[in-house]
Amino acid sequence: MLSYRSQKPPVDWAAYAFVALFTAPFLLFNIAPIVFTAYLSFMKWGIFGPPKYVGVDNYRKALENDQILISFQNILLYGLTIVPGVLVLGLMAALYVNNRWPLSSVARVCFFSPYVVSATVIGLVWVWILDTQFGIANHYLGYLGIDNIPWLTSTDWSLYGVGITSIWWDMGLAFVLILAGLQDIPGDMYDAAEIDGATRWQRFRYVTLPMLRPVLSMVITLQLIATLRIFSQVYVMTSGGPASSSTSVLYEIYTVAIRNQKFGLGAAVSMMLFVVILLVTFLSRRLIREQST
């Protein structure tokens, strides 16, 4: 009969080693910064010297700061502008390529290529495209009888100027994901629908869209998170202006923490953004799940 000691399974150190390859960097570079940020949000700290405990003072200051409140409002507006834009245009582009319409192989490259260019370059290029007086956007809109639009210099338009740029930049990823989803839909389903007399629109409405739902759900979630964290385009194109009309939470965190060395306040705003992203993501996932059931 085997003893209790000999029945105990041996520790598989090799398995721990393999898991540690992921876990250790994850804890160090993902979890530890979140914990440190949470800690800092209760401190007053300017990098040099020890942090000083201030309780919830940073959160109070953040909630009393007009600039920061506007930035939260703006990222929700960005979300409402950019996410539907990326989703609809990404879907249209994917359908175009998937249906092998004319020049679809060239279109595939064109649709995806903006995504591989850095946001800084995109921002700089679009500053010129959207220039009020000399930009090509207003030039061509002029042919339609539309007056020059101050895309980046007016409080009414700057958010949309940055939003359009972001849609153009982000559409590439949505396009690839949706295209992959389209190519996974079995051809038999379309054949069956066609035999049943479904029109092209009905095939799209009752076959394509339901089958794409998991992919679209993922695109919405990813895009929502990316949009709530929008920074580079804002930094390059408008610096959050004019009058904070295009600012974002990340840009305000950068201003508060990196420019003004108020790391405690920056950390408090970061934690608030963390909670907002969690909530919005949770709600959107729940909404999509409810619709699908």
Binding site: I47, T153, S154, G241, A243
Partner: protein, 438 residues
């Protein structure tokens, strides 16, 4: 079969040696090597940056066989202070940097190295510097009579004027106006409109950011406004003058219609002829000359009761090191750069604080032509509107900023989202709190 020679003892010894070597701080390695490499951070990235890079290269060539060299790294201006703080906290601060703003908190926290003794050992002749520039490099509240920066250049903001637009409007550049009314007449003559829309600004402005903020700062001081009282006990002295200056800036857009808010990059816009008068600093000269822009630089007119313009001082400062033996070598390098700053103060940026350079017969003929460079130097006479103040929260008062408390407050006025009265009240409250921190 030969037995392996790698014994446990040997393995531990080798691993220990490797670990010890890798754990050694960099300065030790730097010291141990024959040459000392000084690390220098600079935020200069406009056309003046090329001249500064040349200065560093000149130093390295002059010290090729002397065992010392400078490695320059360009750091984004917005992040400069934070990066210096972070690197110092990690014990890896650069040896020295070029900076414009006085940072009393750096002195209070021991981040800046006191220079009196080091400067004396290096043979830096402090009597050659203007008294004003030396006093501005001391922080009596935190550092007594110690010098913490070596002044390198002085500059003012003055109007650059597109001479092609001047000729086109039938004006004579030699009749440049001396007062606010004349300035507006010139601006109106050179402004181009398409219906009600300004398509070429007589006075180059942006709808937010640095340009309207610094314009307000200059005009407000001309009208008698003071951000902080002379005794540093109160803020917003003569608020009515500050409000009048806000109105003056607003009128450029809405009443006189000589400026448009529809400009995103003021430097490029002036360079491409979208503006006729653009007040800026000497860092733009080389770039505009290279692109053959026809322009001259004039003195800032007297818009208010007295003639005032923006003043800025560039200086070199030494940062806290874990190895203090590097300070003297760094100070020697800073002394060399100061002694040889003729190139920097003729082709690079602004005027020199040193009499020996200003007194040279070729001072006005070297570098960029005097008609584009001279006003920046001559205008120092009335350049008294300093960027920010030597207090802990001085950055909140900085008139050359696009993102600080002042700029964000004024931005709402320019966009018509708050009244001038409310903005002034907000400045009084916010600056009052900032001043309380010392």
């Amino acid at each position: 079969m030969k037995k392996s020679e790698v014994t446990r003892r040997k393995l531990i010894k080798t691993a220990g040696t490797l670990a010890l070597t890798s754990a050694l701080p960099m300065p030790f390695i730097r010291r141990a090597s024959a040459a000392t490499e000084l690390v220098h951070w600079s935020p200069l990235a406009a056309s003046d940056g090329e001249v500064w890079a040349q200065m560093i290269q000149n130093f390295n060539e002059a010290h090729k066989d002397k065992g010392v060299s400078i490695r320059m790294e360009v750091v984004n201006w917005d992040d400069y202070t934070t990066k210096v703080l972070a690197s110092a906290a990690a014990g890896e601060a650069p040896d020295f940097g070029w900076n414009t703003d006085p940072r009393p908190s750096f002195v209070r926290d021991g981040l800046l190295v006191p220079l009196n003794e080091l400067a004396a050992n290096s043979g830096l002749d402090l009597s050659d510097f203007s008294e004003f520039s030396i006093n501005a490099s001391k922080f009596p509240n935190y550092g007594g009579d110690e010098l913490f920066q070596v002044p390198l250049d002085l500059m003012s903001i003055q109007p650059e004027v597109n001479t092609a637009h001047v000729a086109e409007a039938g004006l004579d550049i030699n009749d440049w106006p001396d007062d606010g009314d004349g300035l507006l007449e010139w601006a109106k003559a050179m402004t181009k409109r398409d219906g009600d829309t300004v398509v070429r600004s007589g006075i180059m402005m942006t709808g937010s950011g640095v340009q309207p903020t610094v314009t307000w700062g200059i005009v407000a001081e001309q009208m008698g406004f003071q951000r902080i009282s002379n005794d540093f006990t109160s803020v917003c002295v003569n608020p009515e003058a500050g409000k009048a200056a806000m109105q003056w800036v607003l009128d450029l857009f809405d009443t006189h219609r000589v400026s448009t808010r529809d400009v995103t990059d003021r430097y490029k816009a002036f360079g491409t002829g979208q503006g006729s008068i653009f007040w800026t600093g000497p860092w733009t000269i080389n770039g505009y000359l290279a692109q053959e822009l026809p322009f001259a630089t004039k003195l800032f007119p007297k818009v208010g009761e007295k003639r005032v313009t923006y003043f800025e001082r560039g200086a070199l400062e030494l940062y806290l090191q874990s190895d203090p033996s590097r300070y003297q070598a760094t100070m020697d390098a800073v002394t060399w750069l100061s002694d040889n700053s003729f190139l920097w103060c003729t082709e690079g940026r602004g005027a020199s604080p040193r009499q020996s350079i200003l007194g040279r017969s070729d001072y006005k003929t070297a570098g960029a032509p005097w008609d584009v460079r001279g006003a920046f130097v001559d205008g120092l006479e009335f350049a008294t509107a300093i960027a920010d103040f030597p207090i802990i929260n001085g950055a909140d008062f900085n008139i050359y900023s696009g993102g600080n408390f002042l700029a964000k407050t004024l931005e709402l006025v320019w966009a018509g989202q708050t009244s001038i009265d409310d903005a002034m009240t907000k400045l009084q409250d916010g600056w009052g709190e900032s001043l309380e921190e010392g």
